[in-house]
């Protein structure tokens, strides 16, 4: 099959999906315009926090002939760069694949520099809550333990276990101070303090006594006072928890579940906790946004559309811990579908997170020093 035929076939498919999605001919006409425009526009520039975007872009280009350049940036670097450039009137980037939406929303969306766009497939298939902002996929972060030490059962019952003597000096977490998403996630522990306090009472049969203002901050304090080990890399945490032959292996908190992809490769003995109360960790979105002043808006829209399809999501689909909002996406072997995780895990409330992550960070910094 030649490239041209492939493009035609794909365009036809896209068109059909678009038609089916809205059932409205007006939308179909719009999308046709988008496709026509995209061909005129040429090369697209994307900033992305995830390196797999480059792989997806390659596939996209092969199909459509539209070149995509992907610049890989760290979460905060991306926000900073996109913000500075837009503020200076430099509009090179057309689209961003961004994490830490709490910060990105403040700097990029609320300022009007970037706008949301919902392409046909997402419009048709995604749940409403995944459309604004448009979600490329969700990442989840979990608690994990060593299966050599605990071959039969998941030892973790409650997050409060981590503050007990048994776990003293045995729990690892990527430094909250340098992990924006951890800060966001812990604001949810503040917002849902009551549930957290209830979990304590359920676990120990007595009410939580607090010196901090709420159960969320109290947890941070007790967790750190229980000699938590602060690491700089999730990879290292997974390896440390899962390495075979340990007498006293550590436990991991809030490391990215997708690291479990390497478990068979490295012969790691690690498993995520699926019963810890009240949350199995947290999940957060990777968001797609369109530059308000994009030079190639139609090409960007087509790429966003592509990323919402199963084919477009394929580069992320080869590991656990990454979930497309596309309900047709089949979970990675052994993993659960997004809906299951949404039921068992907390995410965070954007407004509350924006207002309180400073508080979380300060509390963390206050107790992080020994």
């Amino acid at each position: 099959m030649g490239i041209k035929t492939r493009i035609r076939a794909w365009l036809a498919a896209g068109l059909t999906i678009g038609l089916l999605a809205t059932g409205s001919s007006a939308f179909a006409e719009d999308w046709a315009q988008v496709e026509a425009g995209a061909k005129e526009e040429g090369a697209l520039l994307v900033y992305s926090t995830t390196s797999r975007t480059a792989k997806a872009a390659e596939n996209f280009s092969a199909q459509t002939g539209i070149a995509v350049e992907v610049v890989r940036l760290g979460e905060q670097d991306l926000i900073q760069r996109a913000y500075q450039e837009a503020a200076s009137g430099v509009n090179d980037v057309d689209m961003i694949v961004v994490e830490d939406w709490v910060a990105a929303r403040e700097l990029l969306s609320n300022t009007g520099y970037f706008v949301n766009y919902v392409p046909p497939t997402a419009e048709k298939l995604f749940a409403e809550r995944h459309k604004n902002p448009l979600v490329l996929g969700f990442i989840n972060r979990v608690f994990g333990y060593n299966t050599d030490k605990h071959p039969d059962a998941d030892p973790l019952v409650s997050v409060w276990d981590l503050t007990t003597e048994e776990y003293k000096g045995r729990v690892m977490i990527r430094d909250v101070a340098i992990t924006g998403e951890h800060q966001n996630a812990l604001t949810e522990w503040v917002r849902r303090s009551d549930e957290l306090a209830a979990a304590y009472e359920k676990r120990f049969g007595k009410p939580l006594e607090m010196t901090e203002a709420n159960a969320g901050l109290e947890f941070i304090k007790r967790f750190l006072q229980n000699d938590a080990i602060i690491m700089t890399s999730d990879t290292k945490i997974t390896e440390a928890v899962g390495a075979p032959g340990q007498d006293n292996p550590p436990y991991g908190m809030f490391y990215v579940y997708s690291k479990h992809r390497d478990v068979p490769l490295q012969d790691l003995r690690v498993k995520e906790s699926r019963q810890i109360d009240p949350t199995l960790g947290y999940y957060y979105p990777i968001v797609l946004q369109l530059s308000a002043n994009a030079k190639h808006p139609n090409a960007a829209k087509m790429f966003m559309e592509y990323l919402g399809t199963l084919e477009g999501f394929a580069p992320w689909g080869d590991s656990p811990g990454v979930y497309s909002p596309n309900p047709n996406q089949v979970p990675f072997e052994g993993d659960m579908p997004l809906a299951w995780w949404e039921d068992h895990m907390w995410s965070y409330d954007l407004d509350f997170a924006a207002a309180n992550r400073g508080l979380v960070l300060d509390t963390w910094l206050k107790y992080a020093q020994r």
Binding site: D175, I229, Q246, K259, Q369
Partner: protein, 598 residues
């Protein structure tokens, strides 16, 4: 009026014209960014507004300063990390000085065997990213606390290392010292070479012991170089983040740069930049001390044009034991980490050290979906993107080294020849300031400054030129330090002798001042060259797909945990940098080989 005019006209010496030119340029490239950064610490930023009741984005505020210095948690937020920072910075700077100085003395001043090898190897620790040493330390000495495989030391001896040795301030200090001692080696080596051997010999004739000679004659003469080294390493230590975070986290020791990173990541740049300001102030304090202590003694003119044969100290029976010790040291800090990197790139599945796991896939393999970690990535040497990024890096490094090298000589010349004037001091200090600015902050500020046209300067956004400018500003301090110490050691009469026969300023620079101190300038260019190849945080906000660099492109492998690719790139850089320094030493003549004892 006429005499005033005459005075100004007659006073237009090359050094004055240069000084004024540099003052203007540096003011724009150094003082403006500094001011912008300082201003940020008084402004309410989007996410900061929630913690400052009643504030709007963009308001002026004292809140960041209040929080950092006077709030009830100021000790945890600021003072404790500050103390840790000072302990580490002072400790590792002294240790780096000791190692670098000793090696330099052995190589330049004694009849140690295998000098060439040692001189070339001694700069490698700085070429390798500092995390390689931190990683090596953990691999060697880790204990149960951070889980995973046993540390090699424990595996061999059965002795569990205590936490204070495995993690925290001590290993941070040691690994940073091992990373930065090449500074001392190069700068002190250069200074030692310039000391008139007669000074040492005459002391020897007076019956001074070798140690007394070192302490009383040699040490004071190289004092300016020692202070320069201390200043350079200390200031770097203030801003270092990776190693302290990696080695300090497990036992929860934090430094000032944690505050910078944490708050930038937490989107509180006001608080973050405040940490940067404090680091700059500390750096300036050291700079000031340097001026106070060394200022009056700076007049050592050691190259006077009155040559003397350089006599080498005979180590006698100690010759081979010392050589063995030095080689052992180099083996430990260079060969071992390098080998660890190499092994990593030839193991198909990480951490499994068996022959059937051996592969060259990560170097020369085809893009494959079934073999190895990097699904769909061709091997490094066949990966056109990686190779072109590597090409960009080398081009940037060479251009920046040349420009900083030339500027270093010129600024150094202006500073030394204008000595005693405020202009000289202003130039000296201004050219050092960029060194004190954390690169993560400098990158963001330069992005804002050069994204749009300002006055005569067009928008440089996305251009290679901007990368060159940023790197030049950032690494100018190295070259200026080298330039100043080089020119300072050339007696003015060497230049005046050329003036007397009518040599133009340009001829004097080209034929006398530069060749006479070639190796010092070369060292001054070497550091920017090496630093550019490793730079990430300064440039990450400024590169575009067309100007991708080895470090920025390697990010994509790092964050997927594809370390064979990351390590392979590091190795390639090490190989390229080492071979190009050796090559250029050869090309630049024997005096450089002599300079570092080769």
């Amino acid at each position: 009026m006429r005499t005033l005019y005459s005075r100004i006209y007659l006073g237009l010496t090359p050094q004055r014209v240069l000084s004024i030119l540099f003052l203007i340029v540096l003011a724009y490239l150094v003082i403006v960014p500094l001011f912008l950064m300082l201003r940020e610490t008084f402004v309410v930023h989007p996410l900061e507004r929630f913690q400052i009741p009643g504030s709007q984005v963009g308001d002026l505020t004292w809140a960041h300063w209040q929080r950092n210095f006077f709030s009830e948690n100021a000790y945890a937020f600021f003072y404790r990390p500050l103390l840790n920072t000072l302990k580490i910075a002072i400790g590792f700077s002294l240790l780096a000085l000791l190692i670098g100085g000793t090696l330099a003395w052995l190589v330049v001043r004694t009849d140690l065997p295998m000098k060439g090898l040692i001189a070339n190897a001694a700069i490698i620790p700085y070429i390798m990213p500092s995390w390689t040493l931190a990683l090596a330390w953990i691999t060697l000495f880790k204990n149960q606390r951070i889980g995973g495989d046993q540390g090699i030391f424990t595996a061999l001896t059965g002795v569990a290392t205590p936490d204070w040795f495995a993690y925290g301030l001590i290993p941070i200090t040691i690994t940073l010292a091992l990373h930065y001692f090449p500074f001392g080696f190069m700068l002190i080596g250069g200074a030692l070479r310039n000391i008139d051997a007669q000074l040492e010999e005459s002391a020897e004739l007076l019956g001074a012991s070798r140690f007394t000679i070192l302490r009383r004659i040699v040490a004071p003469l190289v004092l300016p170089a020692i202070f320069s080294t201390f200043l350079l390493t200390f200031s770097r230590g203030l801003g270092t983040f990776g190693t302290p975070a990696f080695l300090g986290g497990p036992v929860r020791e934090f430094v000032l740069s944690t505050s910078l990173y944490a708050n930038l990541i937490g989107q509180r740049p006001g608080i973050g930049y405040l940490a940067a300001v404090v680091m700059i102030v500390l750096g300036v304090l050291v700079l000031y001390m340097d001026h106070k202590i060394i200022g009056t003694r700076r007049s050592f003119v050691t190259i006077s044009g009155k040559g003397a044969r350089a006599g080498l100290v005979a180590l006698g029976q100690w010759r081979w034991p010392v050589a063995a010790l030095v080689l052992g040291f180099i083996l430990a800090v260079i060969v071992v980490p390098l080998c660890a990197l190499v092994i990593d790139t030839v193991m198909l599945r990480p951490g499994i050290y068996s022959w059937d796991n051996f592969t060259l896939h990560y170097w020369i393999g085809d893009a494959s979906l079934t073999v190895g970690l990097g699904t769909g990535e061709p091997g490094i040497l066949r990966n056109s993107q990686l190779m072109s990024a590597l090409g960009n890096t080398m081009m940037l490094a060479v251009v920046v080294a040349l420009i900083t090298g030339i500027l270093g000589v010129l600024v150094g010349y202006a500073i030394v020849r204008m000595r005693g004037t405020w202009v000289s001091q202003a130039l000296d200090q201004m050219s050092f300031l960029p060194y004190l600015m954390p690169s993560i902050a400098l990158g963001a500020i330069f992005l804002a400054m050069f994204a749009v046209p300002r006055g005569p300067i067009p928008s440089l956004h996305g251009t290679f030129t901007l990368l060159v400018i940023v790197c030049t500003v950032s690494y100018l301090p190295y070259a200026v330090k080298a330039g100043v110490s080089a020119i300072r050691q050339v007696g003015p009469e060497l230049e005046e002798a050329a003036v007397m026969v009518g040599a133009s300023w340009w001829t004097r620079m080209r034929r006398i001042l530069i060749p006479v101190q070639k190796s010092t300038y070369f060292s001054g260019m070497l550091l920017p060259f090496i630093s550019v190849t490793r730079e990430l945080s300064l440039l990450i906000l400024l590169v575009t797909p067309a100007t991708q660099l080895a470090t920025t492109i390697t990010l994509r492998y790092t964050d997927r945990g594809w370390y064979p690719y990351t390590n392979g790139m590091v190795l390639l850089l090490v190989v390229i940098v080492v071979s190009s320094t050796i090559l250029s030493r050869r090309l630049m003549g024997t005096s450089i080989a002599k300079g570092l004892g080769g």
